[in-house]
Every structure is written in structure tokens, then in C-alpha cells.
Symmetry: C2
Subunit: 158 residues, 2 copies
């Protein structure tokens, strides 16, 4: 059975932290294949004036370019926060095998972020997606990112 690796989630966390310092919202994602990192990206919504540029969508776009493929079969994605339904669906379309996430959508909502209240398990069940979901991995460290972001004086929510 697949065992998530702390090393890759730590990369996602560090990337989210880079994003916070760069004025972005606190979300990072790392795409891995055969224990090798394909890419690690953070949310760039403000940076690129693109409301769809969440961390996971951004990582998928970069991975598609790097692998010159729209099919990311055999990859896993580590995300500091449970993917929103947009990101979950993008992960499904990319045929990524497994989502490993830290904080939950509820944690993000509790920290003041706007959310669509559909969790990944619901998306999987209703949508009939084969994706494997590993929730709450290094959850406390991932939740901590929200307060790091919250303590920035120049933070911009959306």
C-alpha cells in the first residue's frame, strides 16, 4: 500500500511559505512520480491575475509542461490543504493517482478562507472518481501556515 512521504509534504509547506512571503495565499503543492519531484508550486492567483491559479492547478499546469503530457498517471500530489472542488477535478482529469493533503477544507474555512463546502470524499463518491485520498497528513504543520499568513500585515484575501 502507498505510504505518504513527509519529505514531499515538507516541500509543499516550504513552497507555501515562499508564497506567503511573495504576497500570495498560503497554499502549496508538490507533484511526485516514482519518488522523484516533478514540481512544487504555490498559489499564484494574485501574482498572475488568474483566479484559477490555485496551488494544485498551478502545479498540474507546470507538471504537464515539464512532462509534455496531459496524462499524469503514476503521479501523486501532496497539497498543504484539501483541494477545492476545482483542484480535485483538475487532479482527476490529470489522472493523478493519489491526493495527500494536510489541512482540511473545514480547517481553511475556520481560518477565514472562502470555501465551496464539498470535501474530497464527496467529490470522489458522487463523481465516481478512482482517485485515492489520504487526508490529514501532517495536518498541524499545514494548519500553522494559515496563522503565518494571517500575521502578515499586507496579506490580501480574495
Amino acid at each position: 500500500m502507498f505510504q505518504p512521504n513527509e519529505k514531499f509534504m515538507r516541500l509543499a509547506i516550504e513552497k507555501a511559505r515562499e508564497g506567503i512571503k511573495a504576497g500570495q495565499t498560503p497554499f502549496g503543492a508538490c507533484i511526485v512520480k516514482d519518488d522523484k519531484v516533478i514540481c512544487t508550486e504555490h498559489n499564484v492567483v494574485w501574482d498572475t491575475t488568474d483566479i484559477t491559479a490555485h496551488g494544485e492547478v498551478n502545479a498540474i499546469r507546470v507538471a504537464c509542461k515539464k512532462m509534455d503530457a496531459i496524462d499524469l498517471t503514476g503521479c501523486q500530489i501532496y497539497s498543504t490543504c484539501e483541494p477545492c472542488p476545482m483542484c480535485f477535478s483538475a487532479i482527476h482529469w490529470a489522472k493523478i493517482d493519489t491526493i495527500i493533503f494536510g489541512a482540511s477544507i473545514q480547517d481553511a474555512s475556520d481560518a477565514g478562507f472562502n470555501e465551496l463546502y464539498i470535501n474530497n470524499q464527496q467529490m470522489k463518491e458522487i463523481g465516481k472518481s478512482p482517485l485515492t485520498i489520504i487526508p490529514n497528513f501532517m495536518q498541524d504543520e499545514c494548519i500553522e501556515l494559515f496563522s503565518e499568513w494571517g500575521s502578515q500585515l499586507d496579506k490580501k484575501a480574495y
Copy 2:
């Protein structure tokens, strides 16, 4: 009450047709504000090697750039097909007011496209989205796009 305008759906249909001719899948979308077209785009997944580049996501990105804003409040989106959950959520995040779609997810599935089986009404209700949804507008003309695409000898599904 908002009344959808055939003119804008026709632009989306024509754009989907351009996409078919350019080797893309048969999906088009038109974003409108105050009865003026912001942009009309088609799916560019193959063209850009980006699995997230569905017609609606692509149109939202272009509209964000054109309006230099991540908030598209006051806009409507006309889509030849019911947005998938990724696109529905992107439309929600962009704060677009209204989705007007032609063919349904079920119609697309019947035509052989892979789908996540969550329709827009479910996304709205479970996710608690304020989006207004106008389904089945010019549905027959939009479904016709699937057979136009299907008759291309060099069509590429994904």
C-alpha cells in the same frame, strides 16, 4: 429576471466549431458583462498541453487578464456544455453571476466523453454557491457539436 441571449450562445458555438477545426475538443464559452462580450474561447487542452484548459477555465483566464481583475462580478458565462465540476468551481471563484449552458454533462457522457458525474445543481446545493444556473439553453444546437467533432477523422479524445 435575467434572460439569456441567443447571440452570445451562438458565439460560443461558433468558437467551439473553430476549436474542432483546430483539433481541439468541441467546447466553447463566452463571457459577457452588461451585454458586451468580454471574450469567447474554446477548449485548448491539446493546443497548450494543459489538462486544466477547458473552454470555461480558459475563458476565465482570458477575462481576468482583459479586465485586470480576479473578480468577475456582474458577468455571465455562456457555455456550449454544462461546466464540469472544475469549471463550475472556477466560475464560482471568479464570482461570475450566472451560468447558461446548452448540452448537459449527461449529453456529453452519452456522446462518449469522460465525465465526473456531478451536475451543476448538485455543485450549487452541496457547495452552497450563489451561482444562478440556466440549463439546456439552445441544447440541440450544442449537442450537434459533439457529432460534428465525432465526424472528424483526426479527432483526439482524452
